[in-house]
């Protein structure tokens, strides 16, 4: 477990460094192409550092807001709060904050940077379909992610990827509107700036699958098996989570409106935006979860 924690901290540092270096290079290139000199580099580095710090300190809040999670009180959700508190006791960490996501698909995730700053979010659908033992299994799995600092890597990845997607859209749009302006006979915005914006947008588009690969590397599929096992160690009852996963598999046809590629890896089970069993091409590219049947099988063998 301690190696796991150290590895996760190392991965997070590498990711942040990677983001800073990458954006720095992009900024440098823009500066050179537009003749702005070092301004581009300085600006890009400032953005990259702000992004990294932001993802570290505010990543959990960004992720929670992006799925429209709402913090609930013990009076509103006594059972959920009791289960979370019980498992925090078992794990020997402070009780994480508790959120509910307004989605019908049963699912859950944990976010934050360490056990002292952790949050656990579950969907409305999960609360409605799971009995106490199954809920304990799910929460124990999330508690294991908190213990292992998987939440740190996961949250930083989610916010960095989210920011990259946002930036690429920004570039594409800037190029698009710039182009429109010129077609109207306006001379401003033509030339190298426009070209650079287009190139950047295109680059990000091409980079998307590579980013998907990076996510897969950063958050290995193995950590789901690990969290399943560690969770079972906390509840001392593997069938609880196995039964919860079976229910989730059965409900896999229910789409999740707030699912997106930047946060998909955080969830207990791969969320799907489209109705039905089939996964979209992009979703498969970003798939970070081992097949649910395999997880159930391993839990049953414990």
């Amino acid at each position: 477990m301690y190696e796991q924690i150290a590895a996760n901290k190392r991965r997070t540092a590498l990711l942040m460094l990677g983001a800073v270096v990458f954006l720095g290079l992009v900024g440098y290139a823009i500066g050179q192409l537009t003749g702005g000199g070092p301004t581009g580099l300085v600006l890009a580095l400032a953005v990259a550092i702000a992004m990294s710090l932001g993802s570290y300190y505010a990543g959990d809040r960004i992720v929670l807001a992006s799925v429209r999670a709402r913090e609930v009180t013990p009076e509103e959700e006594p059972r959920l709060h009791n289960v979370v508190e019980g498992l925090a006791i078992a794990a020997g960490i402070p009780k994480p904050r508790v959120y509910v996501v307004p989605e019908r698909a049963p699912n859950a995730f944990a976010t934050g940077r360490d056990p002292e700053h952790a949050s656990i979010a579950v969907t409305r659908g999960l609360l409605e379909t799971m009995n106490r033992v199954e809920l304990e299994g799910v929460i124990a799995h999330e508690m294991a992610h908190v213990l292992d600092r998987d939440i740190l890597v996961g949250t930083v990845v989610a916010t960095l990827v989210g920011a990259a997607v946002l930036l690429s859209e920004l570039f594409m749009r800037a190029w698009w509107w710039g182009g429109l302006g010129r077609r109207r006979g306006d001379e401003r915005g033509g030339g190298p700036v426009e070209l650079v914006l287009f190139a950047l947008g295109l680059l990000m588009l091409i980079l998307a699958p590579i980013v998907g690969q990076i996510i897969k590397l950063a958050v290995s599929r193995n950590r789901e098996f690990l969290a399943d096992a560690q969770g079972a160690l906390l509840t001392r009852y593997p069938p609880g989570l196995a039964s919860a996963l079976r229910k989730i598999a059965r409900a896999s046809g229910i789409p999740m409106r707030s699912a997106n590629n930047a946060t998909a890896h955080l969830w207990l089970a791969q969320p799907s935006r489209v109705e039905g069993e089939r996964m979209g091409l992009l979703e498969r590219l970003f798939s970070t979860h081992p097949p649910i049947e395999e997880r159930i099988r391993r839990l049953e063998e414990m």
Binding site: P78, R79, N82, V83, E85, G86, L87, I89, A90, A91, G92, N131, R132, V133, E136, L234, R236, Y237
Partner: protein
């Protein structure tokens, strides 16, 4: 030359001693923490029991003997001094609470009432929190006792008066009281 080697060995030994001492202190603190958590949860259960008894009394006044038994176990648990005494008394409370809940089975309107459902959720949750707190405590005790018992750490432990702690034992070997009768 030899002096340097000797100094190096002494220095390494001192570093190891400090490191081991700190580990022992950390584990002892975890054990204390675990015990404090058990205590918090047990106290919560002591507070809930009179409520449960009152609620059931309204429907099944003839179970007087059972009520008294539960009250006695509760009083005994509150006064218990050592870890094994406490564990004994708690086992008795658990048995009593289970029998009380079994009595409730015979009264559908009580079972379905809002106040009883809320009370049952609290009781179930407290039972499982006790189980989890016990699990954490026993885990830490095992780690502390293992360290104290194993050579060379045992030298440091003896020198600074670290002694093995007592486990908090419970009757049901598997999965404690939270699973039986109380679940859902």
């Amino acid at each position: 030359m030899w002096l340097w080697i000797a100094l190096g060995v002494v220095g390494a030994a001192a570093l190891w001693a400090v490191w081991t001492f700190n580990r022992l202190v950390r584990l002892r603190n975890r054990v204390e923490e675990g015990w404090a958590q058990i205590d918090v949860q047990l106290r919560r259960r002591y507070d809930l029991i009179p409520n449960l008894v009152e609620t059931v009394k309204g429907y099944a006044a003839h179970e007087r003997e059972l009520f008294e038994e539960v009250a006695r176990a509760r009083a005994r648990a509150i006064e218990a001094g050592s870890v094994p005494d406490q564990a004994d008394a708690e086992n008795e409370i658990t048995r009593g609470v289970r029998r009380l809940l079994a009595v409730v089975e015979a009264y559908p309107e009580l079972k379905a009432s809002e106040s009883f459902l809320a009370l049952q959720e609290e009781l179930t949750a407290t039972e499982s929190k006790i189980a989890y707190a016990r699990q954490f405590y026993n885990e830490q005790v095992m780690r502390l006792n293992t360290l104290i018992g194993s050579f060379p750490a045992s030298l440091i432990a003896r020198a600074f008066g670290f002694t093995p702690r007592e486990f908090f034992r419970i009757e049901d070997p598997e999965r404690g009281p939270a699973r039986v009768g109380l679940a859902d």
